[in-house]
């Protein structure tokens, strides 16, 4: 039986070896997400209560929030959910190559979302003068959206680890773990250096009050750009196929559990987008 025929025979929604008929990893993730609902529920309730009963000296959210950036972030997160669903769909068909591309796409969109959040927080703190401690609005807003952003960051890290895991050889050698570790480090290095270079470009060249020239920008940030290019090529070298891998449709439950987490982050943002941002502009 080929791997593709096995994929067709494998039931990804039922595990006869457990008493519930549900894979244990999936059951664990659903239980965790149910508890996380209550966690975010308390944070959203706190924000809404202080918005409905604001102190006299509270900041005006309309003067602080920027609906255009948030709408863009919402769209990005929705599309990342699509990619995550397609990654699960691909691994259920044992299509490892396609799974890797969808995982990378999801990571990229997650990072764009995080970049947008970094930009937004930077603007709120330095331009709008709203900090975590100088107003109730700042306290509840940064706590809620910061917790959500942390969830997204953990999701991106998990996606990266799953991507590297997909390269585990069928017959792992003693050097595989070191190889995988270096792969993770180069990917993390590429992400950090790229985001650093892009955020500096955005803040100091494109939207700054007294923007620097592109020449000044390259002179000050050449090391970040060179590092990003170098780590990109090293990560690509690590990703070269080196024989059969121990990653197929039988790992679908791992990818699916991660996907559940990622989609949960998306549905939390659906609520935050409406309750925290849109309702302020009515």
């Amino acid at each position: 039986m080929s791997s593709h025929s096995a994929a067709a025979a494998l039931d990804h929604h039922h595990d006869p070896t457990t008493s519930t008929g549900i894979p244990n990893k999936k059951l664990l993730m659903w239980a965790f997400l149910a508890s996380d609902c209550m966690f975010f529920g308390s944070l959203i309730a706190t924000h809404l209560i202080y918005r409905l009963h604001p102190p006299a000296d509270n900041m005006d959210p309309k003067a602080v929030f920027a609906p255009a950036l948030t709408s863009f972030s919402t769209f990005i997160l929705l599309m990342s959910s699509l990619m995550m669903a397609l990654a699960v769909n691909a691994i259920q068909k044992s299509n490892v190559r396609s799974t890797r591309w969808w995982l990378l796409g999801t990571m990229l969109f997650g990072l764009i979302f995080l970049g947008g959040q970094v930009y937004e927080f930077n603007e709120f703190v330095h331009i709008k003068k709203m900090t975590l401690s100088n107003s109730i609005l700042g306290s509840t807003f940064f706590t809620l959206t910061g917790t959500h952003g942390t969830h997204v960051a953990i999701g991106v890290l998990w996606l990266g680890l799953m991507y590297v895991r997909s390269f585990k050889p069928l017959q792992p050698t003693s050097g595989w773990l070191g190889h995988a570790l270096l792969h993770v480090v180069t990917i993390a290095g590429f992400i950090v250096l790229t985001m650093y270079a892009l955020i500096r470009l955005l803040l100091h060249v494109i939207v700054a009050e007294e923007p620097m020239t592109y020449g000044q920008y390259f002179a000050g940030n050449w090391w970040a750009i060179a590092g990003a290019v170098l780590t990109f090529f090293i990560a690509t070298w690590f990703a070269k196929p080196r024989g059969p891998v121990a990653f197929n449709e039988y790992n679908a439950v791992d990818v699916e559990s991660m996907g559940l987490y990622w989609h949960f982050v998306d549905i939390v943002w659906i609520v935050i987008f409406t309750a925290v941002y849109l309702l302020e502009f009515i």
Partner: protein
């Protein structure tokens, strides 16, 4: 028959999986359109209750689409749905209860409570009578 993929059941499964791909792409398009409608709705000159109601309904629709299709609840065993909805219902009930508690007017920021003098302060351990709430705003 050596390959399951060539059996009728295998062909059915393959067709089912391919349909899921199309469903996911179509759903992403629908979610993007709903998000666009939400953004436009905020700027429409409608009554506030209509916009709040509309936004709530659209958010719930997006939420349900994601959990039942992207998160596979539609195809999974009902126990997963029950487990998640226990947490979700508790969360929604907690949010609603907290919002209602603050709406009734018994909770005010500490700054607005009347100052307590030393003579009026009860002895340690004595049962205290709560200070009267200030007049409603």
């Amino acid at each position: 028959m050596s390959s399951v993929a060539h059996s009728p059941a295998g062909a059915h499964d393959a067709h089912h999986v391919d349909n899921k791909f199309a469903i996911f792409v179509q759903l992403a398009f629908v979610l993007a359109v709903i998000t666009g409608v939400e953004i436009v709705m905020v700027y429409l000159p409608w009554a506030k209750w209509m916009i709040v109601g509309g936004l709530t309904v659209l958010s719930v629709v997006k939420f349900m689409f994601v959990i039942f299709i992207f998160m596979h609840l539609r195809w999974d065993k009902p126990f997963c749905t029950i487990l998640f909805f226990i947490g979700l219902i508790l969360a929604v009930a907690t949010v609603t209860a907290l919002l209602q508690l603050f709406i009734v007017g018994d909770s005010y920021p500490i700054e607005s409570a009347p100052p307590r003098t030393a003579a009026a302060a009860p002895a340690a351990g004595a049962t205290s009578t709560p200070a009267p709430a200030p007049a409603a705003k």
